[in-house]
Symmetry: C2
Subunit: 323 residues, 2 copies
């Protein structure tokens, strides 16, 4: 069993087309193949405003799969610690032995989540999308945008956050790292009305985006809600959507944006991202459609990125050894 | 995050009274305290006759808890590999960070399972039990007996296994290691009729022990069944039991010996081991009772042994450092 540190992992993995392809393939497998993806196991530590989620998925026929522990402890920042963390175990599916511990502190989760956003945008957003709107100013607000630039030519970013200082820091970071001008907006409405693609990245428990603000052709990726108490999109957004997509429908109904939508017809017509990748259902077909994709995070993404990084780590070892 | 190898773990942990106390305390907590113990997560790899189980339990107020991956791959022996394996992750409950990876290859599971058998025998078997009967000849057949010798003065062992060679190897090992004479019996019936305490340790899918063989005063611990398709005790054994105990009732009803018992009255009167440890219910009260304890394996045992071994590893480090 190998143990890889965050430093070693960061040396080999990037938020690039190669990773996005792996994540896209994972969604395709989730739709087309025999996949075992048990319900998320969860331990809550209310005293510490903490939770640990355990996810796993095995795609039948593959020779390994991941088990991921990810934690969110919202008292951590006051102790000088990051609120999220965790690790992945890559299991050998041929003999049940652990192949590797990826002590990634949640970094791979960050990357596979951002990559899923890019896959959603690739299949759902207008090809000529130029303006990205970002709700939230944290790690995913940065990574989702970075991922998006791989699939769409983003020329301007509008951002909104609750905290002005963090919004300014976001503007500073993005302008420096991605060389894209950022405007800090004074309302979510302004961001939504201005943008071609909107990505919501908050742990909000009340709706932030409303249907009446949507213009034709907009695509929204909502990646914040992954628990029973979270919600970023008002039901009116889902009602407005011409195409409504989610990563895994049963999860979205339980933990994602579909949860608070009571309209059966809307729930019924939600389709899975993998079914769009496979060609079974069409994604966007014209520039007037409003598309919404809800991402709750799936075990197949964890298995895909764990297998990908393990392969990269091993080819690196081989190349360092001169083979 | 520390990573400990099996070798390091074996240096500090023993199947001793200290461990048994921790496991007993775990059952007590399971009964008395607020415990989060989500249903077991399971991935099946039918091609390889393999399965990976993921267990966890958090006892509210404790500062850490374990997440355990354990595998059983029954094609492994033909490849020269052990059929069981796995590892444990000890999580810090104050901040969600992994404290340690215990790369124990399933050793801690073996020990905590054996320790539970000793706890069951302590509370249920006659104090004057002298003859132990063991069904099965594998690792648990050895460890359960070893654990039993800590709580009862065993003077003779009767063993039965399907494979004569393995039964002889068992006799040889036990006589050498525990200095207790072993008789290889030619039937399960002979073992059950002769013994004060019977421990069943097989992955059998059909009943091995029948009620008509039980004499007054016998105690049976059935630790083999931990899945929907396994069963070691015929329903007649449960009907005969004056006291019927299980580690966790809902698990026993789903995965253990209670599963195949259709008699509602029997199911209703099954109590949990922790309730006996707590004094809420009596264990054995006289030498004529027949007692049966079904062990399916619980996440609180994993958390207890992971915390215990972590403490031992750290006090060892301290003592090596001269503190």
């Amino acid at each position: 069993m190998f143990v890889y540190s965050l430093e070693e992992i960061k040396k080999v993995i990037q938020l690039d087309g190669n990773l996005m392809q792996q994540i896209e393939k994972a969604f395709l497998s989730l739709y087309e193949k025999q996949v075992q993806m048990p319900p998320i196991m969860r331990i809550d530590i209310p005293d510490q405003r903490g939770e640990v989620d355990i996810k796993s998925a095995y795609i039948e026929g593959e020779d390994s799969f991941a088990v991921k522990l990810s934690s969110g402890f919202f008292n951590n920042p006051s102790k000088g610690l990051p609120s999220s963390g965790g690790l992945m175990i890559l299991m050998d599916a041929t003999n049940g032995q652990p192949k590797a511990v990826l002590a990634d502190d949640g970094h791979l989760t960050d990357l596979r989540t951002a990559a899923a956003g890019a896959v959603a945008a690739k299949w759902c957003s207008r090809k000529n999308s130029r303006i990205a709107g970002v709700i939230g100013t944290g790690a995913q607000a940065r990574l989702q945008l970075e991922a998006l630039t791989h699939v769409r030519s983003i020329e301007h970013v509008y951002v909104w956050g609750r905290n002005d200082q963090k919004s300014e820091a976001y503007k500073h970071d993005v302008e420096r790292m991605l060389q894209i001008p950022v405007t800090v907006a004074d309302s979510v409405q302004k961001v939504v009305e201005t943008s071609d693609i909107v990505v919501t990245t908050t742990p909000s428990t009340t709706p932030l985006v409303f249907g009446e603000w949507l213009k034709k052709g907009t695509h929204i990726t909502a990646m914040g809600s992954d628990a029973e108490h979270k919600q970023e999109l008002d039901e009116s957004v889902l009602l407005q959507a011409d195409i409504l997509i989610c990563d895994k429908k049963d999860q979205s109904l339980r933990l994602g944006e579909l949860r608070s939508c009571l309209d059966e017809r809307v729930r019924d017509r939600a389709i899975e991202l993998g079914s769009v990748v496979s060609g079974q259902y069409a994604g966007r077909v014209d520039d007037h459609q409003i598309t919404v994709c809800d991402l709750t995070g799936t075990g197949v993404q964890d298995t895909a990125i764990a297998r990908h990084v393990y392969q990269l780590l091993n080819s690196r070892i081989h190349s360092e050894n001169g083979y």
